[in-house]
Point group: C2
Chain length 318, copies 2
Amino acid sequence: MMVTLSDVAKKAVVSKMTVSRVINHPDKVSPELRELVYKAMKDLNYVPNFTARALVQKRTQVIKLLILEEMDTTEPYYMNLLTGIAVGLDKYHYALQLVTRNSHEIGPCDGVIATGMRIEDYENIIEQLEPPVVLFGHNDKGYDFVDVDNEKGIQMATQHVIDLGYNEILFFGIDLDEPFMQTRIKGYQKMIEKHNLNSHLFMMKNSSHVSQAKATKQLEKDEERIAFVCASDRLAIGVVRAAQALGLLIPQQVAITGFDGVFLDQISSPKLTTVRQPVMEMGEALADMLLQKIDLDGERLGNRIFQPELIIRESTIK
Amino acid sequence: MMVTLSDVAKKAVVSKMTVSRVINHPDKVSPELRELVYKAMKDLNYVPNFTARALVQKRTQVIKLLILEEMDTTEPYYMNLLTGIAVGLDKYHYALQLVTRNSHEIGPCDGVIATGMRIEDYENIIEQLEPPVVLFGHNDKGYDFVDVDNEKGIQMATQHVIDLGYNEILFFGIDLDEPFMQTRIKGYQKMIEKHNLNSHLFMMKNSSHVSQAKATKQLEKDEERIAFVCASDRLAIGVVRAAQALGLLIPQQVAITGFDGVFLDQISSPKLTTVRQPVMEMGEALADMLLQKIDLDGERLGNRIFQPELIIRESTIK
DNA sequence: TCATCTTTTATAAGCGCTTACAAAAGTATA
DNA sequence: TATACTTTTGTAAGCGCTTATAAAAGATGA
């Protein structure tokens, strides 16, 4: 039924070791034998047994996803991240386990992916971790991480509405004191300075109802042609509703850009111009990076910054 | 470092076998020895090695999720299902792999969860499966499944708008010839008949833009007080936009109910009355059921029908 | 040609656990 | 008290693979 290393060895008339070596260190085997073994593997349709390998290598085949911020599991953003990680892990027959701040212990595992750290978490949690770690989101403590270029993302959105001739540009941000938010603010302000415009920052809870209220207040001042650069699609959707309720034309009188590009942007009407983060790909990258790091015994691997993409839709262009 | 069976055995002064038996068949061990072993396990903080067990039991520790319908992975519905399954599997150190219709082979695994089957798929795919299977969604071929009570869900929604005094009630469905849709239609029609009302069925693609167009056409006929019972939150959102664009008051002139209760319902304004499916719980149930089935060597386990919940919000009640 | 070094291949042991079987202990029957 | 059971515990083997180490084969130089 199941084809094992021994079967392949027998078929190729070599020892088990040679077959194992062909799999793990092909360069240490002479080309002739190597070919012989490859052929035998193909003929017999050999699939290596991950479980056996894990046992002898004392691996758990489990990696933990440590989520340190309040996560709304219904938020598509996290779901996508999770799916991306799962896809990455599955390639190596790894299982994923979720751990939150409430969990008492992390438990046995081969590696950890962490997200949503606050400053104090590095000392208290991340540093204490025994197995290799990869972080989701920028840090300057020397941990490997995966992130999107937040500054560039907001700059693209801001530049875009400037190009459309808007010069009253408001930034709607989320009132969280976290790096990703600071970077987005920076992106906005740099662009505003560069074009000698006035900066208008509004920070609020990440809720479409809150942003709707805030936007209504601004739009009622009846200045003409206001653009809203929002730090999330959720905020952007609230602004859309505010404009529509006041009977203003999108995108002629009001232009709106979102951020994330995960699901929400598509169900809005008009469809949202947004800065898309490749969340699933980032999840996969996290998994790839961590697994590589495990193989390399925790060696430093560097960071991976993903480029966001400006997706232009009806909320800014007719 | 790592505590093994042998360590526990030594500590409890018994053989490895006795410890193994305490874990797997506690009833086959005398109470005194059992307690002794439990104490030793606790003292040493013993965690069984799943990998070793999997090896000797010839398990792969992999289960496959077979998705037979076109799935939009950005759809929060599926993400939640996936997350639920992952949570369920993690408890037993199982890994999840995704398989779609395009995949040539299913590959080695201990069990399969399948979703989105059409009639012909049972013969062609499901029946061919070697390992235990659990289905997501109703079937009458004798396979174990997990589903939500679709009929009851729509009935609750329909009854709710009837109770609000609406007697012009339209059903907005998805034009897919699948059991879940037929059952939702049935739920609507039964309720309509019971109250001697007129049935109005509209089937369409599951898109908020399509439902917006269709709803606009109906609302322009300017009959008063129309209720829309929708087969998805996505359709419901389109109807909301149609009503708002025509300046009609929700819920005074137009009442709207959705279906699913996964994320979309919350970002709408007004917030949607919806029939919530416990998707994550259902995913977890799928995993639990399958793992139990694997342990019981594929034995029939029966079905699990989850009760939906009517969540009443601003789209039907002031 | 033989000793010495390098490359290539094989042998043996064991990862932590369970299955199959054997031994020991306890219980009942005559 | 010996016999045949039943229940409880222990021994040995091995799942499929890898690490460590030994053996064999080639290559090099005197």
